[in-house]
Structures are given as structure tokens and as C-alpha cells.
């Protein structure tokens, strides 16, 4: 079984961040946006062209490109749908 990453999270579903794989500036940015291990993330909606996706993170709505979301490992938070 492969590890789920944030870009695979379905719209409307909630997940918990497990790990950030990115390093350097990308990692800093993701953390500044509030993405840390243990953070709850809800995938809110997708851009008309498929990328980026807007996520609800700590109350704020934040758009991430797929290439960034791929760097975030997640665990599905079962039954949790908003």
C-alpha cells in the first residue's frame, strides 16, 4: 500500500497531516501556511482547470499547487466529512 499524499485527497474529505516530505523553502512555506504533522486539512474545492486546490487549514483557505500538495503525506480521517 502506498502512502496517501494531500493531492490525492478527495474534495470534501478531511485528512490529518502525517509528514512533510519537502525540504528547504517549500517546507518553510507549508509550515507558515499552518501545515504541520497532526494538522487537520479539508479539501474545499478545485480550480476550474484542475489545479490548484483550495484547502481549509486552521480556519484559513489556502490554495496549493499539486506539486506542493504531493509533498504532504496524510492519513484519512475516517467518517470526518464536513
Amino acid at each position: 500500500m502506498t502512502q496517501l499524499t494531500l493531492d490525492q485527497l478527495e474534495i470534501g474529505s478531511i485528512a490529518v497531516v502525517r509528514r512533510l516530505n519537502a525540504g528547504g523553502a517549500i517546507r518553510d512555506r507549508l509550515m507558515d501556511m499552518g501545515l504541520l504533522p497532526g494538522t487537520l486539512v479539508l479539501a474545499e474545492f478545485r480550480s476550474p482547470l484542475g489545479d490548484p486546490v483550495a484547502y481549509r487549514i486552521r480556519g484559513a483557505l489556502i490554495a496549493l499547487r499539486r506539486s506542493q500538495a504531493r509533498e504532504v503525506e496524510i492519513d484519512l480521517s475516517e467518517g470526518a466529512r464536513e
Binding site: S47, P48, A60
Partner: protein, 469 residues
């Protein structure tokens, strides 16, 4: 450096002791406290406006079909209101400033016995240029800016950036470039400054170099006028203003396409690299304060942009007048320039007069059309009674007949002018800003020559194609 640096050594030692994930631990500790404090100080009551309204709106505005449709309609409506709404005040201003006050000023000058040279330079040159800028620019700006500011205050612009991001990513550019691009639709100098929100120097440079493809205030009047008399004029009268607005939106849309294409080209060649981190916070929708927005956008944006344009137009007016009245070897300087540029102009499906006007209008694009009219008339058969160096206010029908009969314009000339007005060097204020921001002569030069080169290529191609078929 070889001197031992105890601080750095100590830091390194401590870092090893603390372990790799020190930064993460730190951030986690801060966020944990933040979450706990926020939680304990907040309470929600469910009776109020739920976030589901915002959410529904977001879903609609970023819907695969609806999102782009709304975007198109929104901008079309903004331009349409601007074009139709500006008509009447423009005419009133024109009548007042270019006709009545102008005649009055000449009356006063001759009563005072001012020399024709002085009154020509001041009234026909400086005054008329500034008066034209006021009557042509003020009304559309006073409508466009408040509308745009309302959209901005509501929180719509970041959604536009969100919708378009995929395209910018494909072009190797930063997602926030669409925000600086939006600012450029007001003023390119402001757009260039707005690129500061872009973190990576490479992508910021791309955004800077392509900002000129956003049609700015100085160029809207040219597009609107040519779109109205040549494109709208070709449509049935009932649809004329709709078609005119569409043609303007088409050129603006072409500008966005050019922004993407050139960004793509730059990021594949000169400014190679991968797109950097992109994260964009989409702010909550907030109801704008309508009256306040109207007030501040008129004061802060309209009047200030207008003031800058006037500062540019006044000396340009003097230059136009001088070049048309200083005669060397029986021909005015303007005449020499037109003759010099004419072969190139014709090759591009334009003419010497248009190119001369663009040279004269480097400081302020808004005086392109009046300069073209004035030069066309004074150098050609003077059917509307223009004097040398006097810029004219003619109504639309007259403009059409002057351009076609005296200037020899065709629909091809008009289309090429539309293209050229999108694709040419930025105005001097924008270039100065680019120089300030990049601190590089090279990139300023590129910013000037790249769009100019594209403009030459584009008009040359359409002309070739038109002549082939």
C-alpha cells in the same frame, strides 16, 4: 575566512545535539499554543451567517464552466459599462475644454497681444494636450477604477488568480503573477511594483517583463475609439457598442494570451527554471463599503493616475507643437519624421504618422490618437481645417472620414493599430519603474524592446497575410 567563529561553531554543536527536527518541533510548539489559546478564547453561535454562503459562492466562482463564464461576463460588463458610461461625460468635457475654453483662451491671448508663437506653444500645444487627456481619460477612469476596486474589496481578485493558476504554472510562472497582471490593467507602473509579492527573483522578472501586455489606462482610450469607429462601425447600429466592447475585450484577452506565451518563452529560454513554491491565501469575502470605495478610488486612483498623465502630456503637447511648426528645408520636423518612418510603417500595415505618434507619445500613450489626427490632417489634405500642431477634437464620424479619406486607412490599418497598441514599448513611467525595481539596464532594455519587437512581428505578419489573400 579562516578566523574561527566561535558563535557558528557553538551553533553547529548545539544543532547536532538538538537533532534534525528542531525547526519542526519549534513550529509545532508555537502552533500548539496558538491552537489552544484560540480555542479557549473563541465561541461560535450557529445562528449567524454560516460559512456555507461563502463556500457556495466559492464553488460557483471556481466552477469548471461557471468560473470562467462568470470571469468573462464580469470583465465584459466592467468594460461595457466603462465604454458606454464614459461617452457622455467625455463629450461634455470635450465640448467644454477643447471647444469653448480653447476659443476663450485664444481670445484672451490675442486681446493681450501675445505673440502667435507663444500662444501657439502654450494653448495649441500644452493646453490642448492636457485638455485632451482630461476629456478622454478622466471619464473612463472614474468609472473603471471604482468598479475594479469594488471587485477587489469583495475578494474576487484572488479567485481570478486561483482560476488562472494552472495556465501560469504551465508557463513556468508564479501564480501571483496573475495578481500583478490585474493591477497592470490599471497602470503598468503599478503592476510592476505589485510584482514584489512574488518571492522568486526569476518569476518576478518574468512578471515584470510581461506586465506591459496588460492594457493600461493610457491605452484603453485608443482601443475604445478605434474599436468603436472601425469595428463597432462595421456592425449594425443596434449592436455597435456591444461589438465595440467585445473587440476591446478581445484585445485585452489577447494581452493575457501574450502574457502567458511570453512567460512560457522566457521560462524555457532566458529565465530557465522550475516554478517555485506557490501558496495563495484566499481571503474571506467581505462586503465592500460602496460609498467609501467610490470616494477613495476616485481620489487615490483616478486623480493620481490622471495627474501623472497630465505631467507627461503637457511637455508632450509642447513637443508636438514644436515639431509641427519648426520647419527645416521647407518641411516641418514632424514632416521629416513621418517621411522617414513611412516606409517602415507601410511595411507593417500602419503608416509614418502612426509610428511618429508613438514616438511622440512615449511619455503618455493617451495622446496617440490626437497626435495621429493632427499629423494626418496637417500633412495631408487639410479637410477639417487643422492648424499645424493643433490637436483636434472631432466627432466619431469625422474621425472616420479623416482617417480613411486623408490618412488612407483601411480596416487593416485599424486592426494593426489595435495590435500595435497592445504590443509596443511601455511608457516612460513604467520603464523608469522597471529600472528602479530591477536595478538593471539590461532588463529595462529588454522590457522596452521585447514587446516592440513582438509588435513589429505581429503587424508585419497580419499585413503579409492580408496582402496574400
Amino acid at each position: 575566512m579562516s578566523t574561527p567563529l566561535p558563535i557558528l561553531e557553538k551553533a553547529q554543536r548545539l544543532r547536532a545535539e538538538l537533532g534534525e527536527d528542531y525547526h519542526d518541533k519549534l513550529m509545532e510548539a508555537i502552533y500548539a499554543d496558538a491552537a489552544q489559546i484560540a480555542e479557549s478564547s473563541m465561541s461560535r453561535s450557529s445562528r449567524h451567517a454560516s460559512p456555507s454562503f461563502d463556500r457556495a459562492l466559492d464553488r460557483a466562482l471556481t466552477h469548471p464552466v461557471g468560473g470562467f463564464l462568470t470571469m468573462g461576463i464580469m470583465f465584459f460588463v466592467v468594460f461595457w459599462i466603462t465604454i458606454t458610461g464614459a461617452n457622455i461625460p467625455s463629450r461634455i468635457f470635450g465640448d467644454l475644454l477643447l471647444d469653448q475654453l480653447y476659443t476663450l483662451l485664444h481670445g484672451i491671448a490675442s486681446a493681450l497681444g501675445t505673440s502667435p508663437w507663444l500662444s501657439g506653444l502654450l494653448i495649441d500645444g500644452v493646453y490642448l494636450a492636457t485638455a485632451w487627456v482630461v476629456s478622454v481619460m478622466l471619464p473612463p477612469m472614474a468609472i473603471f477604477f471604482p468598479l475594479f476596486t469594488l471587485l477587489e474589496d469583495f475578494g474576487y481578485l484572488p479567485r481570478v488568480a486561483f482560476n488562472l493558476d494552472r495556465l501560469f504554472a504551465a508557463a513556468g510562472a508564479h501564480g501571483k503573477q496573475s495578481l500583478s497582471m490585474m493591477m497592470g490593467f490599471g497602470c503598468n507602473a503599478a503592476g510592476v511594483i505589485a510584482t514584489r509579492i512574488i518571492d522568486s527573483p526569476r518569476e518576478r522578472l518574468i512578471a515584470t517583463l510581461t506586465n506591459n501586455f496588460s492594457i493600461c489606462n493610457g491605452r484603453w482610450p485608443t482601443l475604445i475609439l478605434i474599436g468603436t469607429i472601425f469595428v463597432g462601425g462595421a456592425a449594425p447600429p443596434a449592436l455597435a457598442s456591444l461589438v465595440a466592447a467585445l473587440s476591446v475585450v478581445a484585445v485585452a484577452g489577447l494581452g493575457i494570451v501574450m502574457t502567458l506565451l511570453v512567460s512560457w518563452g522566457l521560462s524555457k529560454t532566458w529565465l530557465k527554471g522550475v516554478p517555485s513554491v506557490f501558496s495563495l491565501e484566499l481571503p474571506p469575502y467581505r462586503p465592500p463599503q460602496i460609498l467609501r470605495t467610490l470616494y477613495t478610488s476616485v481620489i487615490d486612483r483616478t486623480l493620481i493616475v490622471l495627474w501623472r498623465a497630465l505631467m507627461m502630456a503637457a511637455p508632450a503637447g509642447a513637443v508636438i507643437w514644436l515639431t509641427s511648426n519648426v520647419v527645416i528645408g521647407g518641411v516641418s520636423i514632424a514632416g521629416h519624421m513621418v517621411n522617414l518612418l513611412n516606409p517602415l510603417g507601410l511595411l507593417l500595415g500602419l503608416n509614418g504618422v502612426i509610428l511618429t505618434a508613438y514616438v511622440v507619445a512615449i511619455p503618455a500613450n493617451e495622446i496617440v490618437i490626437p497626435t495621429i489626427l493632427m499629423l494626418t490632417l496637417t500633412l495631408g489634405r487639410n479637410i477639417a481645417g487643422a492648424q499645424s500642431g493643433v490637436m483636434l477634437e472631432l466627432d466619431e464620424g469625422q474621425v472616420y472620414s479623416v482617417l480613411t479619406q486623408v490618412g488612407g486607412w483601411t480596416l487593416l490599418t485599424a486592426v494593426n493599430l489595435l495590435l500595435f497598441s497592445l504590443l509596443h514599448n511601455p511608457c516612460s513611467t513604467t520603464l523608469l519603474t522597471i529600472w528602479h525595481e530591477t536595478k538593471s539596464r539590461k532588463w529595462t532594455l529588454v522590457a522596452a524592446l521585447l514587446p516592440l519587437g513582438l509588435g513589429v512581428a505581429a503587424t508585419f505578419t497580419t499585413t503579409m497575410l492580408a496582402r496574400l489573400f
